[in-house]
């Protein structure tokens, strides 16, 4: 019994350490399993921003606590409570995935800690459950898909085959696309999450006679699908419209198989803006890979915190003032135009992107055309803020 008590004591000590710093930020990302690639981008992007500010965001010594959500909502919840109660962070930045954000949302905002999402943007948090303590430097999930829908309509594409994973983000993708696209939809196919073999779906595509494919296959699913799609020969017959399927996270594995495929989002590493060019160059030099939107949004999240803390002169206790400062978004975003809407989601431009090969042989995305100018999400009206 005594031994147990000692062990318990040691454990409590180990898990209960905290130290005092000026500005404490908790970063909740997924660092386990294949999605760790995305979590790493966010971590690297955020750290790069802190480095660029010489370790002081808003002029305060900054301490960063990185925790791994393991893509398990309950694990994320436990660790976030650790950040809030043990480490007493001033900001929580996260997450990659909507389900993890949903799990941590209530405890973080209830503790009146500002929560900034560098990626996940579920519709409920943009709409009826918007919150004074929640900000997003990314987008509302549907917006990338709306971009593709609008593009498809503008191009006069007559029929589309839709395929997304069978989960909430997949459903949002279909809904977002349909909001602007009014042509024929030949099929709506939902695959299991983590799907391995797309041959059955590809056979359906070839049979459907659709003019274009709309898909959303993040991570490893995207790598497998793009490879199998290219092998099937359909790439020459259907226009490939996608989001999060051919991006900087997956292109290193997809390589030429993805060449010429379309994506859509709010930024591309090839973008011709001085701050963006510097960011991409620094990032590549430091981490050895091309940053994607995840890294950019994390970098912006750090800049946002920097600007707000600076504006309130480092006084983190006046939450009202701090919120005002955050809402002002007084920083130079890597993507160019950036302002917050009433629901604390960005008002920004959206682009159609195309996969291209750089001179050094690496693959990245380039802007094909601007689809939306100062786009606001569709749920802001539901937000009573």
């Amino acid at each position: 019994m005594k031994k147990l008590a000692c062990a318990l004591g040691a454990l409590l000590m180990a898990t209960g350490m905290a130290s005092a710093e000026d500005l404490k930020i908790g970063l909740v990302v997924t660092l386990s399993g294949p999605p760790a690639v995305l979590g790493k981008q966010i971590e690297d992007g955020f750290k790069l921003a802190i480095d660029d500010k010489d370790g002081k965001l808003g002029g305060l010594d900054t301490e960063l606590f990185v925790v791994d959500s393991e893509l398990k909502p309950d694990v994320a919840l436990t660790r976030v409570k650790g950040l809030l109660e043990r480490d007493q962070v001033d900001f929580v930045v996260g997450t990659v995935f909507s389900n993890v954000l949903g799990a941590i949302f209530k405890p973080v905002t209830r503790s009146e800690t500002f929560l900034i999402s560098p990626n996940a943007g579920p519709s409920t948090l943009a709409g009826r459950n918007c919150n004074p303590y929640f900000f997003s430097t990314s987008y509302q999930n549907n917006q990338n898909f709306e971009t593709l829908g609008k593009h498809a309509k503008e191009q006069g594409i007559k029929s589309v085959f839709m395929m997304t994973p069978n989960y909430q983000a997949g459903r949002d993708a279909v809904e977002g696309f349909k909001k602007y696209y009014d042509g024929e939809i030949t099929n709506e196919v939902y695959t299991p999450l983590g799907h391995q073999d797309f041959s059955a779906e590809i056979a359906q595509m070839s049979d459907s006679g659709a003019e274009a494919l709309f898909t959303f296959m993040p991570g490893g699913m995207g790598v497998r699908f793009v490879k199998q799609f290219r092998e099937s020969g359909l790439a020459d017959k259907m226009t490939f419209l996608s989001a999060f399927t051919v991006d900087e996270a997956t292109l290193p594995a997809q390589k030429e198989a993805a060449l010429g495929f379309f994506g859509a989002t709010n930024w591309a590493p090839s973008m011709d803006l001085p701050q963006s060019k510097k960011f991409v160059a620094d990032f590549e030099a430091k981490y050895g890979y091309i940053p994607g939107g995840f890294a950019m949004q994390a970098y912006d999240a750090a800049l946002l915190i920097d600007s707000a803390v600076r504006a309130v002169g480092g006084d983190l206790s006046d939450k009202e003032a701090l919120r005002k400062a955050l809402e002002a978004a007084d920083f130079e975003s890597l993507r160019g135009d950036f302002a917050f809407n009433n629901n604390h989601f960005p008002i920004q431009d959206f682009y159609l992107l195309r996969v291209d090969q750089r001179d050094d042989g690496k693959f990245w995305t380039v802007v094909d055309k601007k689809v939306f100018d100062d786009h606001t999400d569709s749920f802001a009206a539901e937000c009573k803020m």
Partner: protein, 334 residues
């Protein structure tokens, strides 16, 4: 036929065996663990803070599910690989009830018991036709079916899950609100589960289950329809796990299909084996161990599984009977 007092002399304990004496030590150890848990709010106030208390609460809720699973694995020889389904179902019934405007804890718990019991009755009736590894897999199958069903509940968040903005109340008292109210409610449920499973194991009913674990044939031949006993045990375990699901929904203020995933079912099994099967204390210790060690290790490295994995292997290889037995040996050696 024979003078009873004479035979009483020969076997004064009514058939006391070493196992019986061990059981008494187990009772004390279990009470000691529960006492330490009861003092956790005070202990964590000194070291660890509310974060550690939260962890302990999470472990306690999982311990309720693990102890109920031990009724199946440890006492009945039924390795259910779908026990997390009841956790998931319990939390979803709670979450959906709250969303639909039912706030009373009693009606919600009634619904949880009704639905989890019904699910256990139907799936158990089918699963118990099989045995051994086939039983493991068919319970997995039902767990997966429920998981996919919960994931497809689009109006309740689909696989993104659902944040719960309300808390069940008991006659206007918020004893299930996260914080000390929920802590003591959980403690009470945990203690009741621990007691109940112990009582059940020692009862006539439990004796049939334990005998059936060793020799289903023998139990049938003396005149028991083991299927009915096992089905009842399966339903009882499902009810306890369902209540654990209710507490989990209150604790996390969030429901998510991953609660019902096969990985979670696996974790519950690991808790039971790790702690020691057929001893309620084992499941209790196993749950505490897994939750606390995971969290402590993950503080040091993202790749904590590189340490935790071999730890499990070593326990499997060298700690026969799991942590509870290890503890008993340490206790006995004093």
């Amino acid at each position: 036929m024979t003078d009873r007092s004479v035979t009483q002399d020969r076997a004064p304990q009514g058939g006391a065996t070493p196992a019986r004496r061990f059981g008494d030590a187990g009772l004390l150890a279990g009470l000691a663990i529960l006492l330490v848990l009861a003092l956790m709010p005070q202990i964590t106030a000194v070291a660890g803070g509310s974060y550690v208390l939260n962890l302990v609460m999470k472990a306690m809720i999982l311990a309720i599910a693990a102890i109920s699973l031990d009724l199946l694995i440890g006492y009945s020889g039924l390795v259910s690989f779908g026990h997390a389904a009841f956790l998931g179902l319990g939390s979803y019934v709670t979450g959906i009830a709250l969303t639909e405007g039912i706030y009373g804890a009693l009606p919600i718990l009634g619904l949880v018991l009704l639905i989890c019991g019904g699910f256990a009755l139907v799936t158990g009736a089918i699963s118990l036709r099989t045995s051994g590894v086939y039983f493991i897999m068919i319970t997995l199958a039902f767990g997966q079916m429920l998981f996919f069903a919960l994931s497809s509940l689009s109006s309740y968040g689909g696989d993104d899950g659902l944040t719960l903005w309300d808390t069940p109340d008991l006659f206007g008292a918020y004893v299930f609100q996260t914080g000390s109210g929920l802590f003591y409610s959980t403690l009470v449920v945990l203690a009741l589960t621990w007691l109940a499973v112990g009582r059940i194991a020692g009862s006539r009913f439990g004796r049939v289950l334990r005998a059936g674990k060793e020799s289903p044939l023998r139990v049938g031949v003396v005149g028991f329809d083991l299927y009915r006993f096992r089905l009842a045990a399966y339903v009882i375990a499902g009810l306890f796990a369902g209540v654990a699901g209710f507490l989990m929904a209150c604790h996390t203020e969030f429901i998510n299909p991953s609660t019902a995933s096969w990985q979670n079912s696996g974790t519950l099994i690991v808790m039971v084996i790790l702690g020691g099967m057929g001893t309620r204390n084992g499941a209790l210790l196993g749950a505490l161990f897994v939750v606390l060690i995971e969290e402590a290790l993950s503080r040091y490295t993202v790749d904590w599984k590189l340490i935790f994995g071999p730890m499990l292997v070593l326990i499997a290889l060298f700690a026969k009977g799991g942590l509870a037995n290890l503890l008993a040996r340490v206790g006995g050696g004093r």
